[in-house]
Amino acid sequence: MDFSLQQDTPEMSAFRQEIRAWLADNMKGGEHLRWSGNWSTRENDEEYRFRRALAGKLGQKRWLFPTYPVKYGGAGLTLDHQFVLETEIDRYGLSLGSVFYTLARLVAPALMKFGTEEQKLEFLPPMMRGELAVWQLLTEPQGGSDVANCQTKAIRDGDHYVVNGQKVLVGHHLPPDYLWTFVCTNPAGKRHENLGWLYIPANLPGITLQHMHLMMGIKNAVFFDNVRVPAKYLVGGENNGWKVANSYLELEHGGGGSVAEQPLFKRLIEHCQKSEFDGESLIEDQDIRDEIADMLIDLDVQRLMGLRNFWHRYVREPHPYGGPQFLYFQRMVRLRNSERVQKILGYDALVPDNSVHEVADFEYTVRSGPGWLHGGGTLDTDRLIIARRLGLGRPAQETAPTTVGE
């Protein structure tokens, strides 16, 4: 058994040096910026511009999607290379999947597995170059966790699909380029067999965006009013959308794993070391030390579950229930940490500190505790999926889908 992440081969070591030097160079000018949390929708245009430009530069190097085939815009490198890239960019508090707000990281694998050759050649390269902000449009006002109950209709009309309906709780405060949209292609069809995915250019007539002001920041409602989408944008075939969803949502649901560090904990320790109450450093207080212990254990178990999932993806043996388990545990840890931070800081925990990245910010930690209970499915759907994978109350266990494309 070997948990080491940093034991590079000579080839990887050279690659790491190259990345490190490149990042040192290209992160210049961003020192004063505060990265928002991965999928947060905080409004800061300067940050957004910097991150979007950085993604473009990474895309030019083909480092955003390093393992994808060269002909689609990737670099044809190994997962080891990707791992090096992930760990190096993590040093700056960013991840390859969210250099700026786009869900290309989830859409690209679905295109790889279910797209036609023409679709891959047309859709993937600009995505890999980091040029596109892609939103995922799944949730509907009446749907929520029941994603298969999709009311947004896409009815074939000649060479087009005509889309009508509404999606909610999606996106970012700045507009997208493409909408990866779950639609009902056959309203009369059987549940799970009447769905499809459309990769919709966001500038088509009939699409309206409306900001929603939420606990975690700005998201959007997206309205489709007789939007005519060329048929070539249907991915995975008509009425096959549920299969596409099942495969690629495993990635969103934690199956991809994680190698990220936890900056929040480090910052909390620093706070306790430099703050005093009644002449005593907070770090000397036994009650605070006990909170720290529980937090450290939670974060460490979360780290190990992420590492385990990463490894399972790496060796292409999907963990039977590891994806949703990680996600569920992470949600609960975030909620518990939300309270722990309040216990330790008091009122200060409710005030944002704009000098640090959001992932290390105490106010964000407090707010995102309850806020993260349901991003990308609720904690209850997580548990439901785990139960099915364990085959609880069932003769057979559902198998975890392979996380495709990488």
Binding site: M1, A293, L296, L304, Q325, A387, L392
Partner: protein
């Protein structure tokens, strides 16, 4: 990175699982726990023959010379049973205490006996029913002639009854912790089994027990540093035992949700029942991966003091909580002493206390990472 067992470890795992299936099937184990039979001499001897006592002790002293991870793989299977007996107390911890603290002559004299099962050496560290750590050592070892006189009471000594010898922690005239190997039949040593919602504990009393200098094992840094460094290797193996136990509980419970039918459907169709299984999975995997990473660190020579405390806290709590969640699923049936869950439930409580509670180890973990400026006396 490679997070799977190697081929040898998979083989050891299978051998251990097959051995236990043949020698100690579930109904036999359940019976032992119901009768509080914590030591089965014939079985102990057989495990010595397959090499499970002193696995991590160097071969020159009769041990297996294996890595900690190898040993942990076997203990995981013992924990699944859960096999009762001093496999850990004598075969791992006592052996390690002697290896870390004793003279070469003493090692040569005692380690082979521990490894072949002819001596059952049981550590008795804490005097206190709740506390652990150096402050919990209160038995006195007062200088007397060429040796010491030991007096005190170890209220709960896990696996005490089968002991042929004890390793007793005490305080000398200067208040320092010292360790001595003491014959169970030495004059002044009395032992009484302790009964309760627990298994395997005995009270050991020492009344002016004479101990020669040649029976001491304080290494070069004193008794507590021997205890600390022995625990630093041994505890993760105890954690692996608990991980195996959690795995067994997890599988038993999941299976029950398929076969138990109420309200016209298997109970696993009820989401609230599912939630209990999900909670077990989290405790199980938290304990498993914390333990594995700690073992890997130790086998790779990476500093792991805080990780060892962390693994002990996580695994003890995981075992205890897994039992509780399993009780939620099994309900009344799981409280019958003839039910396999009861063996685990009883043992989980004993092991929650054994060698320091989760609270003790959490605090020790934080102390190792962020030392206090003001050290407590003791």
């Amino acid at each position: 990175m490679d997070l799977k067992l190697n081929d040898d470890q998979n083989m050891m795992k299978k051998v251990a699982a097959d051995f236990i299936k043949a020698e100690a099937p579930s109904y036999v184990i359940t019976d032992w726990y119901q009768k509080k039979q914590a030591f089965i001499p014939a079985l102990y001897k057989k495990t010595a023959e397959v090499g499970w006592l002193g696995m991590i002790i160097p071969e020159e002293f009769g041990g297996g010379g294996t890595s900690l991870m190898d040993c942990a793989v076997v203990f995981e299977e013992l924990g699944r049973a859960p096999l009762p007996g001093p496999y850990f107390a004598s075969g791992v911890l006592a052996a390690q205490l002697i290896l870390e603290g004793a003279s070469t002559e003493m090692k040569k004299a005692w380690l082979p006996k521990i490894c072949d099962g002819s001596a059952v050496v049981i550590p008795a560290i804490s005097d206190d029913p709740m506390q652990f750590g150096p402050r919990s050592v209160q038995t006195r070892a007062l200088k007397s002639g060429d040796g010491y006189k030991f007096t005190g009471t170890k209220r709960f000594v896990q696996d005490g009854s089968p002991a042929s010898h004890f390793i007793i922690a005490a305080r000398d005239d200067a208040g320092r912790v010292v360790l001595a190997l003491i014959d169970r039949n030495a004059p002044g040593v009395t032992m009484t089994d302790v009964n309760g919602f627990m298994i395997g504990a005995a009270e050991v009393k020492l009344d002016d027990v004479t101990v020669g200098e040649d029976a001491m094992l304080n290494g070069s840094g004193g008794g507590w540093s021997v205890v600390e460094s022995a625990l630093g290797k041994a505890l993760p193996i105890l954690c692996a035992y608990k991980v195996g136990a959690c795995q067994e509980i997890f599988e038993l419970t999941n299976e029950y949700t398929r076969t138990r039918v109420v309200f016209g459907q298997p109970i696993g169709r009820f989401q609230r029942v599912q939630d209990h299984c999900v909670d077990i999975s989290i405790h199980l995997d938290g304990a498993r991966w914390t333990t594995y990473e700690t073992l890997w660190k130790l086998d790779s020579g990476i500093e792991a003091r805080a990780s060892v405390h962390q693994a002990k806290a996580v695994a003890s709590e995981a075992y205890y909580q897994s039992c509780n969640f399993s009780h939620m699923v099994f309900a009344g049936a799981g409280t019958d002493y003839k039910h396999p869950l009861m063996a685990h439930s009883v043992l989980a409580h004993s092991l929650y206390q054994y060698l320091g509670t989760p609270l003790y180890h959490k605090r020790a973990m934080v102390d190792a990472l962020y030392p206090r400026k003001l050290k407590r006396a003791g």
